[in-house]
């Protein structure tokens, strides 16, 4: 009789343990789900960390989600994507995550302006081939002083060749200049410009790398996310690119990012 009672007590203990462990699992399960969800949300961060480890030991770039505060500011004061020359406004925007986009636009305009002015200078230095005409002595002198690329074929010049060489050299110069500039200033926009330049040149791995650098310094640069993802898409990592952009879009709801997502999805990149 005593034996059975003792056995019954052991059974009660067993039941308590069993119910306790079931409850623990029951409570742990939603924690796992929530944890999984949070990990899913921050997958881009993790991927970025891993990616950086693989690509560059010195570069510890990570794609950081914009902070809530900053995000709020963005929502409240996000200006239209136009160039705003107002300095006061610029200072105000400097705190905002969307400013890089704006400044990117500015930068693009600036760069196009500088390019244009540079081109003008080049043009002013360059000797234009004149149809069925001889060069004047002054023109000839200027042409020689400028560079020795110009070639004569009788009294005609190969202007196409000259143009090509000029553009090529300017591109290299641009990259080098920007790199130097970036190493001094550590300005994310310069890194981003470099990323864009490399992207244009088709050096997608480099573009990805520079986009990451830009992102490391300022994680709120939409463009850095876009260039990063587009470079990935170009390197046949479309799914990864989409995953990264979608995760970012879910946080920022940026129209630019949305457009980029659609473009990648449609294979227009």
């Amino acid at each position: 009789m005593d034996k059975i009672r003792k056995l019954e007590q052991r059974w009660y203990r067993y039941k308590i343990k069993k119910v306790g462990s079931s409850m623990f699992i029951f409570l742990l399960f939603p924690l796992f789900i929530i944890g999984g969800y949070l990990i899913g949300l921050n997958l881009d961060k993790i991927e970025n960390i891993l990616f950086n480890k693989q690509n560059s030991s010195s570069l510890e770039a990570k794609i950081v989600a914009p902070k809530e505060e900053e995000k709020n500011i963005t929502i409240i004061t996000a200006p239209p994507l136009t160039v705003l020359p107002n300095i006061e406004h610029k200072e105000k925007l400097a705190l905002e995550p969307v400013i890089p986009i704006i400044e990117m636009e500015q930068e693009r305009t600036k760069s196009s302006r500088t390019k244009a002015s540079h081109r003008k200078k080049v043009v002013s230095k360059t000797v234009h081939a004149k149809r069925n005409s001889y060069l004047t002595a002054q023109e000839l002198k200027r042409g020689k002083a400028d560079d020795d690329i110009s070639s004569y074929n009788g009294n005609r010049r190969d202007t196409t060749r000259l143009k090509k060489i000029h553009l090529h050299s300017s591109s290299i110069d641009y990259v080098e200049k920007m790199k130097k500039k970036f190493s001094k200033s550590r300005n994310p926009r310069e890194a981003l410009l470099l990323a864009k330049e490399f992207y244009k040149q088709g050096a997608y791995a480099k573009a990805e790398n520079w986009a990451l650098r830009a992102n490391k310094i300022d994680s709120n640069l939409d463009e850095s996310w876009i260039i990063f993802a587009q470079s990935k898409a170009k390197m046949a990592k479309k799914e990864e690119a989409l995953k990264i952009l979608v995760a970012y879009y879910n946080k920022t709801k940026s129209d630019k990012v949305k457009v980029a997502i659609l473009r990648i999805k449609k294979g227009k990149i």
């Binding site: 009789m1 059975i4 056995l7 019954e8 052991r10 059974w11 203990r13 067993y14 039941k15």
Partner: protein, 270 residues
Amino acid sequence: MSSKYRALKDIFIDSVEKDSYVELESATYNYKILESGLEKPLKMLLLFGKPGTGKSMLLNKLYFNLKESREIHYFDAPILSEKEFLRSIFESISSQTIPLNMKVNFDGLLKYCKNLKDKREIVFLLDECQLYSESLMEKIRLLSDTRVVKFVITLHKTDNEEVIAKEHFKTRIWEVIEMSNADEYDLELYITKKMIKKGFVEVSNMLRKKDFIYIHSHTKGNFRETNKYLYTIFDIYEYYDEIEPHKLSKKRFSKKILEMAAIRLGYIHG
């Protein structure tokens, strides 16, 4: 008034009596192979399997079914002394009792068997042969070579015994029947048939599929373990039936008692 569970638990006392044999598909199949093997000119048949898989039960069934139709002898317990073994063999064949002070000479026994060739065929059922010495096994082998004596032996399946089996019987055994544990379906049949056979239909109906699955999860379909488990279950049932009957449901089998028995036998830890 004694509880019905007292009688019920007794059903599951581990024994190899003819009555306790339960017809199962797998057992019936093995039995047919064994029976047909005896008709063939084989010297030896080996029943091979882990303890509790029903080897002894099958041997017992074979003995009771064939004892009327042919010369068959069943050694349910191993005779470890060589002297005693040879004496038992001779006494079984000759139907004579040898005085205790006399010894059976093995060569004499062989000659005696050879003289019976084409006249008689005697079957010996030897259980638990893994306990026999190598020298005795060698004598069994030589006796089977006379083709007068046929042996059906059972061996436990362990690594060591497997080696013995290979060494001694590889050239002589032509029929090896491997016994294995019952699956869930067979175990359910085994338990139900056992209870119904003794008239406990009501209790057997209380057992549900999930209860059989639970039993199988602990016993792994081993008949000896199953008997032990069910004996313990009904032992606990008996207590509650007599002392605290209000704790027992009349419709469903008590999961609590199933678990209590499992704790008592160490299947689970309370």
